[in-house]
């Protein structure tokens, strides 16, 4: 029986990028539907009535919401397709989920603060973001990837934010690489993977999107 897979997403979303990478890693064919978040489709509102957010994966008509839940779902449904997205050992899985959750709690809000904050709070916002990246650098250590020798769940959860770095740097008027060289080296390593570089959105388009959002929000 053929699988019908649809992804509701928007091109700038780090959460959507996670799912795109996961589907690519597993070689899953799907229909991509770009959502206009100012004018959400009836399908999105029907498939995610609780949060009304993307990404939503619709598999044979049934919706799955929340990016990391979708990624685990993809890994479990297509467990016969390599590579595995999650480790098999329960402790390593718990460790991976912990860091993916940390990323969700810290990096999204930290990054958003950089381009929404008032001028007088900019330096503090930048510093807070760098500190979170340094915590992640500590966790990475000398490993090529967060999950060890190969690209895995934590790498997948984190790498989409790299496409937003140029926007953060422009609005924050700071440079991330001198502060977090190990992090940027890891990101560049991930970008060598075709399924990452192909599905991370264009940083220039993300920057233009943030310019538009800031105007809409009334930020100078």
């Amino acid at each position: 029986m053929g699988d019908e897979v649809v992804l509701l997403d928007t091109f700038v979303s780090v959460f959507g990028m996670r799912v795109r990478i996961a589907l690519a890693e597993k070689g899953i064919q799907y229909e991509y539907k770009e959502e206009d978040l100012m004018n959400k489709s009836h399908l999105l509102l029907q498939m995610n009535p609780i949060h009304k957010k993307i990404p939503v994966l619709i598999h044979n008509g049934k919706p799955i919401c929340e990016s990391l839940i979708i990624v685990e779902y993809i890994d479990e449904v297509w467990k016969d397709k390599s590579p595995p997205l999650m480790p098999s050992d329960p402790y390593k899985r718990a460790h991976a989920r912990f860091w993916a959750d940390y990323i969700g709690k810290k990096i999204y809000d930290g990054g958003k603060k950089i381009w929404t904050t008032k001028v007088e709070d900019q330096e503090a916002a930048n510093k807070e973001f760098i500190e979170c990246l340094k915590v992640l650098e500590g966790e990475l250590g000398d490993k090529p990837y967060f999950d060890g020798e190969s690209f895995g769940f934590v790498d997948l959860a984190l790498i989409p934010y790299y496409s937003w770095f140029p926007a953060y740097e422009k609005f924050g008027k700071f440079s991330i690489e001198p502060e977090c060289p190990k992090f940027v080296a890891w990101a560049k390593r991930c970008m060598q993977k075709e399924n990452v570089s192909k599905y991370l959105s264009d940083p220039d388009k993300i920057y233009d999107f943030v310019v538009m959002l800031r105007q809409r929000m009334g930020i100078a």
Partner: protein, 197 residues
Amino acid sequence: MAENDVKLLGSWPSTFVMRPRIALNVKSVCYDFLEEQLSSKSDLLLKSNPVYKKIPVLIHDGKSICESLNIVQYIDEKWTNSGPSILPLDPYDRAIARFWACYIDDKWFPIFRSLAVAQGEDAIKAALEPVFDGLVLLEDAFKNCGKGKKFFGGDKIGYVDIALGCFLGWMRVTEKMNNVTLLDEAKIPVVSVGCGV
């Protein structure tokens, strides 16, 4: 008495600590409960959870696992052959269970906490409505996930039962202290009965 290789760092009133306690009981795992004084955190806690320095922390064979729902999933995956499974077996049902547990933590708990600390009739009334709206949503989820049975997990306690059930004591206290009714059997019969009203 032999020392258990499973230790849980926690504090008896903590709702989040209750989650791994329930899960360990479901799996009949013996463990040592190490009571933490949150005003004076132990070296073990600070070493085991250096990122957040919070309870609960499960320490198994010397390795620490943090964040309550993460611990529950670990317990389910590690002791897979002991006791019933906590998460459903079907990948779609698992995704739905994870979704509702996330909803409880990310959306419902913060608004419940606002109610629990609200002072004054007006503040309590304002805080009550979104909490109740959340419970009504969970009522629908209960019907869909439980498929007409006693728990979110069906015939047995499952992941979402553990995620929500840990708040039962605090819900009861909030009802008494703020003179409100949360678990109203007339309005949310399935959740109320599931919580043992």
